[in-house]
Amino acid sequence: MTPTLIVAQILNGVQLGLMLFLLAAGLTLIFGIMDMINLAHGSLYMIGAYLTATVTSATGSFFLGVGAAIIGTALIGMALEMSVLRQLYKRDHLSQVLATFGIILIVNEIVRMIWGAQPVLLNAPEVLSGPVEIVPGFRYPAFRLFLIGVGIAVALLLFFIVNRTRVGMWVRAGASNREMAQAMGVRIKLLFTLIFGLGAALCAVAGALLGPILSVQVGMGESILILAFVVIVIGGIGSIKGALIGALLVGIVDTAGRALLPLILRDLLGRDAATNIGGALASVLIYLLMALVLFWKPEGLFPARS
């Protein structure tokens, strides 16, 4: 392996991690802090991607598309919270799972009725569509670099909001004891709605940024949702820091597994055997990682409360 390949793969791991972080952050906010398992998070991600695609193709500007998607998805998220999800806060996790799974099905079908079953077109903006030469001889896709930048910025912003602002404290207080927070003067309904909007906006950012790399299609939220859950569980629920570390861990382990495992196995077992089991092993790796982390730390790496 050449050094450039190693650096490129590390960047890939970081980028995959940050990508997952965008989703996991919203999920951990809603799940950890509001104690609500929201499977429909993946649907908001999908809506964000579709809105970006639609507005981008209508206006010709990707960034306009992203902006519109963020606003649109946040509004849809808040509407969803006010109409349905609000009823679920007091319910147990299982009811939340069932109800939000129902929402996934509904949203999928609605999206399919509006946009059709085929994937829709969404490409990276012209300026970012090619590779950039970081140092002579080393090129990396510009859009993925952009993604890394956005991921870091969002992470910093979230850290600040949740850990350093009074709003962050209110949210955490409201999550642990809603009634008492109200009695202390926190306008809890409004607050949760806003937080939900923030989570939805993060989904839209993730959808808009991942859309051009992955494809924009019905059901795109489900598979990635599981990964996002893996991330927040590894990191410890409710912790933005945990989500970030968990996301990076998953990203890097997954990347390393796919990049290195076949090589290692090839040395150990020979080419044929390596291609035979390499794939399965690489797929198992992140689940193995999660199981190991939980075995060692049953509440994840950075549990927010215990």
């Binding site: 009074r166 404290m169 209110w170 955490r172 207080a173 999550a175 642990s176 004891n177 009634e179 008492m180 927070a181 109200q182 009695a183 202390m184 003067g185 926190v186 306008r187 809890i188 409710g238 927010a304 409360r305 215990s306």
Partner: protein, 236 residues
């Protein structure tokens, strides 16, 4: 003197079982009132209804002349009512410091408001545990935190529901001293507590509840003079 809090004919219930049957209660500005009664007579329920945590089935609650009935708890809190609730209800996932500063306010623009430093001075153990999560405090420390948290909102009306429960004797005395100082500073307070002697020393007037109804009302002098009240209504 105007009545800061005026409760008339208050009725409340948990589901089908009615608990309050027409409670009257009035607190003037600057006054300290004790609410007494045996276990389960409806003291906490009265407080919860005033705070808007439980809907009033009947009667009327007025604060500074405004009707509170039907208002959500957060609005009532923002009008200047703060509570030290039964069972402390500390936010376990906030640190001690965060529990204190998250809700700090001075809406009535009190000239010499409560600050973090003043609360820490009142309860030194809190200062030492500043960065601990609320869930990691001993029972007594949580109680101090609950009082501190309420003071930090600089309320017009402070409600204490069994605020000395679980406190060591020294600290309990400290709380009583603190309440007298608050009173001296003009704070209006509604207190529920089981230490009748201390309450008599502190409060101006008392209301005794029996099964959700007012059984007796009167001044501290009257209560301390008539020991039969104690044994009849309070089981002392």
């Amino acid at each position: 003197m105007t009545a800061l809090l005026e409760v008339r004919g208050l009725e409340a219930a948990y589901g089908a079982s009615q608990v309050l049957f027409g409670v009257d209660l009035s607190i003037d500005s600057g006054q300290v009132v004790g609410l007494l009664g045996r276990n389960g007579m409806g003291k906490t329920t009265t407080i919860r209804t005033i705070l808007g945590l439980l809907p009033a089935r009947g009667g009327e609650i007025r604060f500074c002349g405004d009707r509170l009935n039907g208002k959500p708890p957060e609005s009532i809190a923002r009008m200047g009512v703060a509570v030290v609730p039964e069972g402390r209800q500390i936010f376990p996932n906030l640190t001690v410091r965060e529990n204190l500063i998250a809700f700090a306010a001075n809406r009535a623009a009190v000239p010499d408001p409560w600050t973090l430093d003043k609360v820490y001075a009142l309860f030194p153990p809190l200062a030492a545990r500043e960065r601990n999560l609320g869930s990691r405090l001993s029972g007594g420390e949580q109680q101090m935190l609950a009082i501190g948290r309420a003071l930090m909102t600089n309320p017009q009306l402070l409600i204490l529901d069994e605020a000395t429960e679980g406190l060591a004797p020294l600290l309990r005395e400290e709380i009583w001293r603190c309440l007298s100082r608050l009173k001296a500073a003009g704070q209006t307070i509604l207190v529920v507590d089981k230490y009748v002697e201390r309450l008599i020393a502190l409060a101006d007037a008392h209301t005794i509840l029996v099964r959700g109804q007012v059984a007796w009302r009167g001044s501290s002098e009257a209560l301390s003079a008539d020991r039969t009240l104690w044994s009849r209504y309070l089981g002392v």
